[in-house]
């Protein structure tokens, strides 16, 4: 009798474990590659990056890491903080100049990268003959690799002596008179203690972004416009709306979700501006000789450029000495961008696109309760 009971019990337990193993084992098998990748290449580097920002980590000698506390953050936020043994710290100026460049560029570029594709999408939505071809052509620059569009814009903006296209096509004009890729300052201003010269090199960068930078927005807007119910337009024209009022009161409210999504993704995109100024002028022109020992002290540096100038290994001493600094800068950058993404997810919580986090959040609340 007792053995029988035990056997039954054993069988039940075995059933449970085997069944569980079968069930979870299978799920685990399907998930394993993804989860391993996620943990090894996302979770681990995230925390390791934070750890590095508190150390004097050296990429070629990872064994000799020492904690340095908040040194790198102090360097980035306190102009008078100097590393022991040095007299002057150029990093503060270099970093904040990059920061100001980035913010100014975002402020100028983002409205353009929203309004122009929106206008074009509205035109396309009128369905002129061949609108599909137009749509493909308008989007085409967005697929061009950076190195290639860099070559194109160097060719366009080169001085006439180097057979730049714009300079030779419009002799005597603005494009001919200005040396875009040399030490030519357009105007300069001061933010606190930092002198910020704006160089003419920003113009080719601007046009390169203008050419290839908003194709995605354009496509998203066109899709949004197609989904605006036709009856609304008809109804509004009965109500006596003219074209402009229709755009203002029918079109825009109906693509609010796409507008929010595109605004934020564009802001985030240009916060990460790097490739354009790298391929066009290598972050230069490098004019401020005081900052020569800092990374990315050129006049077209950006936040990502500051990080990349340290870690890409083009300057090995920089990479060896200041890896922690780059890490601190990247953490600050990640927090900034993270906040922006969070706001975007929050704003677009009840729209079709970009609901992800809030939708998940409400479900999660239900699971937890």
């Amino acid at each position: 009798m007792s053995t029988e009971l035990t056997l039954q019990e054993f069988y039940r337990r075995r059933e449970r474990t085997v069944g569980g193993l079968k069930k979870y084992g299978l799920a685990l098998l399907f998930l394993a590659p993804f989860l391993i990748g996620f943990i090894v290449f996302f979770i681990y580097p995230l925390f390791y990056g934070i750890y590095i920002s508190f150390t004097n980590f050296n990429l070629s000698k990872p064994g000799e890491t020492k904690m340095v506390g908040f040194q790198w953050y102090a360097i980035l936020f306190n102009r008078n903080y100097v590393i022991k043994g040095t007299k002057f710290s150029p990093f503060f100026d270099s970093y904040w100049k990059a920061f100001i460049h980035t913010i100014i560029f975002v402020v100028i570029m983002v409205p353009i990268a929203i309004i122009v594709p929106l206008a074009l999408a509205i035109l396309i939505n009128l369905k002129p003959p061949g609108y599909k071809i137009f749509r493909c052509l308008v989007y085409m620059p967005a697929i061009v690799p950076l190195a290639c569009s860099g070559a194109i814009f160097v060719m366009l903006f080169n001085p006439a002596a180097a057979s730049g296209i714009l300079a030779t096509l419009f002799p005597g004009s603005f494009f001919d008179n200005i040396k875009f890729f040399q030490d030519s300052v357009w105007f300069s201003f001061k933010v606190g203690p930092i002198n910020v010269p704006i160089v003419y090199a920003w113009i080719p960068i601007f046009f390169m972004c203008f050419w290839g930078g908003w194709g995605g927005n354009f496509i998203i807007f066109s899709a949004g416009l197609e989904n605006v119910p036709k009856s609304l337009y008809e109804a509004s024209s009965v109500d006596g709306c003219n074209r402009w009022n229709k755009i203002l009161h029918v079109t825009l409210p109906n693509i609010k979700g796409q507008l929010v999504l595109c605004t934020f993704t564009t802001i985030i995109g240009y916060m990460g501006l790097y490739g354009q100024n790298y391929t066009l002028i290598g972050g230069g022109p490098y004019m401020d000789k005081l900052l020569i020992s800092a990374p990315a002290y050129g006049e077209t540096s950006t936040l990502i450029y500051f990080i990349q100038a340290i870690v890409d290994g083009s300057n090995t001493t920089m990479q060896a000495k200041f890896y922690g600094l780059a890490s601190a800068a990247s953490i600050i950058y990640a927090i900034l961008v993270g906040i922006l993404t969070g706001i975007q997810q929050f704003l677009s919580r009840d729209k079709k696109s970009g609901t992800i986090i809030s939708e998940r959040y409400s479900k999660w609340i239900r699971v937890v309760q």
């Binding site: 990748g37 060719m155 995605g216 609304l232 999504l261 986090i357």
Partner: protein, 323 residues
């Protein structure tokens, strides 16, 4: 727009239908015509850099120096001089400056292969891994499934910049910066965005279909490969196209891994190599060489785009994502 007001507007519309019809018949072609003209002008301007890219890359150095104004059709006809310089290292005798880049087709072929490896191989691996995970999250039932998925979704707020440095230390620690491709492909494997998109699509596949397949004795692997993957091929294709474009165009990450090591050019991708070439052939009459490199760089992407333009455009639209 709330329901009541819509209804009212509709009621208003009914009596004046005829009047409205006439008005639209007159006004519609005007709008179309205006938009057609504006778009034509815009597209000509928009496409002109592409045309300059091709024609100037086909101009020889003498023409570039003496007749810079002849852009669309070079003075002495099209020539493959720039391509010869970049592919064969063969400089023309008239060339004023012999810039030794040390780049020939022997370097270009590994670059192209590496770029193809990342763009094609990497994308296939990523999409497959993401599809497996998406299948588990959609059709398999396990404890903490929703909690885990929610956690993954929350991590999407964190931008890639936060993890690149950590990843670089991992790759350098494993000495993968001396090995081609591995360091370029593997870090993308845990990408949540692609997995999320695929999962959203899989959620639309009726559960009954999977259940009945299970009744018929299909294993989960068989269901995955025979039913779910064929049904989800639209989203997989879209995701694959994004992956191809992203992998082919990526500059920052390959540069972080291999860019500094000029002695190991064979590890570079095409983008890194082209950026390097552009640095050499920048402000001189040899810009044609950079452009020839640019043409080599753009042609595969352009081919993919021209064949799949509508798919890409629709995919972008449905996913609501950006490159």
């Amino acid at each position: 727009m709330d329901q009541s007001s819509t209804v009212k507007l509709h009621e208003l519309r009914l009596p004046s239908r005829n009047a409205k019809k006439q008005r639209t018949m007159i006004s519609f072609p005007v709008g179309k015509l205006v938009s057609f003209i504006i778009l034509t002008v815009f597209c000509i301007i928009w496409i002109s850099p592409f045309i300059f890219l091709f024609t100037v890359s086909l101009r020889n150095q003498t023409d570039a120096m003496l007749y810079p104004k002849e852009i669309l059709y070079p003075h002495s006809g099209y020539s493959f001089e720039s391509y010869e310089i970049i592919l064969l290292g063969k400089y023309p005798e008239t060339s004023e400056q012999h810039i030794t880049t040390g780049v020939t087709w022997r370097d270009l072929v590994p670059w192209i292969l590496n770029s193809c490896g990342v763009a094609i191989g990497g994308t296939i691996i990523h999409v497959l891994v993401a599809a497996f995970a998406a299948y588990a999250f959609t059709f398999l039932d396990f404890k903490y499934r929703n909690v885990l998925f929610t956690f993954l979704i929350f991590t999407m707020v964190i931008p890639g910049a936060a993890t690149t440095l950590g990843n670089q230390t991992t790759i350098f620690g494993l000495k993968w910066n001396k090995v081609p491709l591995v360091g370029l492909i593997l870090p993308g494997i845990g990408g949540v965005y692609g997995m999320y998109l695929i999962k959203t699509f899989f959620s639309g596949i009726p559960k009954d279909l999977i259940e009945s397949a299970k009744m018929d004795g299909y294993s989960d692997f068989k269901i995955f490969f025979k039913i779910v993957l064929p049904l989800g091929k639209t989203v997989l294709l879209v995701q694959g196209l994004f992956g191809f474009m992203g992998g082919w165009n990526d500059l920052i990450w390959p540069q972080m891994l291999y860019g500094a090591d000029v002695k190991r050019k064979d590890l570079w991708t095409l983008q890194v190599g082209m950026a390097y070439l552009l640095g050499k052939f920048r402000s001189s009459n040899t810009i044609g060489v950079s452009l020839a490199g640019g043409v080599i760089c753009i042609v595969p992407v352009l081919i993919v785009y021209l064949f799949a333009a509508n798919k890409i455009v629709e995919g972008m639209a449905s996913a609501g994502v950006k490159r």
